[in-house]
Symmetry: C2
Subunit: 498 residues, 2 copies
């Protein structure tokens, strides 16, 4: 493909993306695709072609074969998992970045990639209200993109393990422990299996809204210390995946003051973006995070308007990362790196080559401004309030946990007056709700996610697509109510027959 | 930004990318930027703007402030590190993929993302001549994108550690050993520090062209076994970074037949792409790789025409990965995953969310065809032959290792007849070549990388940009010769004075 052919194909791509978003805004297609597992293989040849093909044919096949197999994360009725960040500015940032195909691992490997990342993550840090200790401009702390929140947590754990081993060199890996809660994202357990380290998931209760409390942490630390085990890091969460729970960082702060060897990583993958709004900062324990977190991570590619991927990790001391991860063979040495006058970000993360992500975040921050981010967050929170009102007024549905920002967790729990039954026992409720979720997940016009909260099967609804409006939430509620009725009828049917 | 504003900004981006490549083809700017460390911060505000800005202003600032800070990896005179993959098809693939911002970690999270990856990596595997055991369609083995070759190796090591611990559960992590050679990419050492495992770098010699030999491996294995240490994986390299050395997989095959507990990961990050050409397969030990490799990785984002990033990892048995990495919390369960009828790629790598990379590789494979890839590889190898001829005819320069595919490693080593001196001692030669490299790296019109080969300081020249032609190699040679002369003069000056 020559430059002029690229121009033509590029214009076509831009036009088709415009068509796609016009159609999506108007809900002209369902959020879930109508395909079965294995749909694609029979539609494609079993080998790459011997000779190159014309791009117009490739572009046609893309429209015809690939687009119909998408789950549309930007669809107004996408309410599963957490939202995937999106903005037109983000696409443009990715486009310009991709066009220079630059794995800028060293400063010299592309000065503007490194320098823009350093500056833009300072902008982002300040927008979220993080302490100035986390600024790249501090020369001590700093921020750097990781691939995902899982990898950000993994890097934080590796840094903490390294710091702990430096302080206590005789510690056996087998005796070292990562602390999470039972509600921490699977990234905690996965980091454990990746590193071959044990993970202790601290218990949290429904009464505490699934938030880690200081007493639980203190007891566990004392217990493990007695057993000569070595807890060395706590992954605290601001906004868990299952219910949006927020660990009590104020109490954690008090406890860890007595255990200064424990590092704290704050995983705010989803909810961290709410820190752009001053009114959510106390709820998210910002002051305590700023006081004690050794590292903090949030995903601009979730609720932050930025196309996947864009996950910064900030640390209070960059040597925390580089002491653990700096490997510099001769072929990666540069005059600037040797002189110590530049940052070589490859020493802040797992891999070597790195995607050029700062450009899109720069575009998005400038395109929206702080106010645009605040508006985006507040809109989703307001839509969730609206949804919660609808649930509260329902005879069939109830909340399984307090709503958290733009996330609600619900289940069918028929009020006795609304049915002929008394309150159902928990086991039966779980079965009923699995039946209910089965019905919901058989539909193509909505997507929600299941979860389990301390034994209670429930259904999550997470708001945040840039295109979701009140009408979509109302439609979602009506559809959920409709399926709940059918589930209850199906449930009661065999009961009568029994 | 609304859809029509995006269309306008998108057309502009496409046009500017065209402008950029016209200018680059004509070498209208230098490969290295003329900026000093810290150039960008004073040019940008210290905070994100409060209100959103017009995109035309942002796009202007991009041209004015960011582009002048790029190291141009696609420049015809980019001869450092290894090439960064590029094609217009790759940009278009990234553009379409970015436009749907989809972190397709589960099949359901986007069926076409998962299915296209599975099919396209089969195409790629067949194009490279890998055994059918590595095909996704085998239902047993398979391929999956990782972030980089470093992470591919890390994942392979984690899988091997997990398999070893399953077979020998009493093994202490402290006693487990990763095997590499002294020439293995720093990814080996880095994996060791990440996992807290020791790494034994086996010696290789200049006489063996820096290739790992069977006897060295066997001695090390026997020695470590005697010490009750547990080597559990060997990272073998096809095309090392420093000199393009190829470990002797045939001999490794013979040795590891006696040590079946040792897993083999083949890192062919750069040179693996040469396997598209049948004439390079023997040199790269393809038959032996197909016989013994548990995992194999190569970067389409290096020599493979695909924009960063595109790094597949193939395994002979997918359970090798999933046994080590599958963590499935309730909120990630799906009906299709539970039924075992789909692949959920999140269990094949470190993170959870994953970039949608198959689209660009599909575009590139179709746009070029197998023939297009072969042509691209052969052109770079031929250009390197041309460079080697020039070096061989030089009185000042010599090769430090046999040329490997499209990589040459050189240094000044004046032939006695060309100077008044006898052959210089090694220490002096190293100093001279550091001076030489200092001169080369002060220039903006070429970029090369330094390395050290068993104590010998030398300079790498790696060919592979899509735009590099014979004229650029001739120019590079002349420029190198010019700087070599100046270095020799500067070197001889104080000698005379002394």
């Amino acid at each position: 493909m020559d430059i002029e052919q690229f121009r033509k194909a590029g214009y076509q791509a831009i036009d088709r993306i415009c068509d796609y978003y016009y159609a999506l805004q108007q809900s002209k297609f369902s959020v879930l695709p109508d395909v079965e597992p294995g749909y694609l293989r029979p539609l494609l040849p079993s080998n790459a072609p011997e000779t190159g093909e014309d791009f117009s044919q490739i572009a046609e096949d893309y429209q015809k074969l690939i687009v119909p197999g998408y789950t549309h994360w930007q669809h107004p009725s996408f309410l599963a998992y957490f939202p995937a960040g999106f903005s037109f500015e983000g696409i443009l940032g990715d486009l310009y970045a991709s066009s220079v195909s630059n794995p800028g691992f060293n400063w010299l490997a592309s000065p503007s990639c490194t320098e823009l990342e350093s500056i833009v993550l300072d902008w982002a840090s300040q927008m979220l209200g993080l302490s100035s200790s986390f600024l790249n401009s501090s020369g001590v702390g700093g921020g750097c993109f990781q691939n995902t929140a899982s990898e950000a947590a993994l890097v934080a754990i590796i840094a903490a393990r390294s710091a702990y081993k430096a302080a206590y060199p005789d510690t056996k890996l087998e005796d070292m422990r990562i602390y999470t809660t039972t509600q921490t994202h699977s990234l905690g357990l996965k980091a454990g299996v990746i590193l071959g380290l044990s993970v202790r998931a601290l218990e949290v209760t429904r009464e505490d809204n699934f938030s880690l409390r200081g007493d639980t942490l203190r007891s566990a630390l004392e217990e493990d210390k007695k057993k000569e085990l070595h807890p060395f890091i706590l992954i605290a969460t601001i906004g868990t995946t299952s219910s949006g729970a927020v660990d009590n960082i104020a109490e954690i702060r008090t406890v860890t003051a007595d255990f200064p060897e424990i590092k704290i990583h704050v995983d705010a993958a989803w909810a961290g973006m709410a820190l752009v709004c001053p009114e959510f900062r106390e709820l998210c324990f910002l002051e305590d995070i700023n006081a004690i977190a050794d590292s903090f991570s949030t995903n601009f590619h979730k609720w932050g308007l930025t196309n996947f991927d864009a996950c910064p990790l900030w640390v209070r001391d960059r040597k925390y990362l580089t002491d653990a991860l700096d490997i510099t063979p001769p072929f990666l040495r540069t005059a600037q790196g040797d002189a110590g006058i530049v940052v070589d970000y490859r020493n802040w993360h797992l891999g070597l080559g790195r995607r050029y992500r700062s450009l899109k975040l720069w575009f998005v921050l400038r395109g929206y401004g702080v106010e645009g981010f605040q508006k985006h967050i507040r809109k989703a929170v307001d839509l969730n309030k609206f949804f919660v009102e609808l649930v509260t007024s329902s005879n069939m549905l109830s909340l399984c946990a307090p709503p958290s920002l733009a996330l609600s967790v619900i289940r069918i729990n028929p009020k006795p007056s609304a049915s002929n039954q008394a309150t159902l026992p928990e086991d039966a409720l779980n079965d009923l709700n699995k039946l209910f979720y089965g019905k919901l997940s058989a539909r193509k016009d909505i997507i929600l996610t299941q979860t389990v909260l301390n034994g209670q099967f429930c259904i999550r609804l997470a708001i945040g697509s840039a295109f979701t409006q009140e009408v979509h939430i109302r439609d979602a509620f009506e559809l959920i109510t409709h399926e709940a009725k059918l589930a209850l009828e199906a449930w009661e049917q065999p009961q009568i027959g029994a």
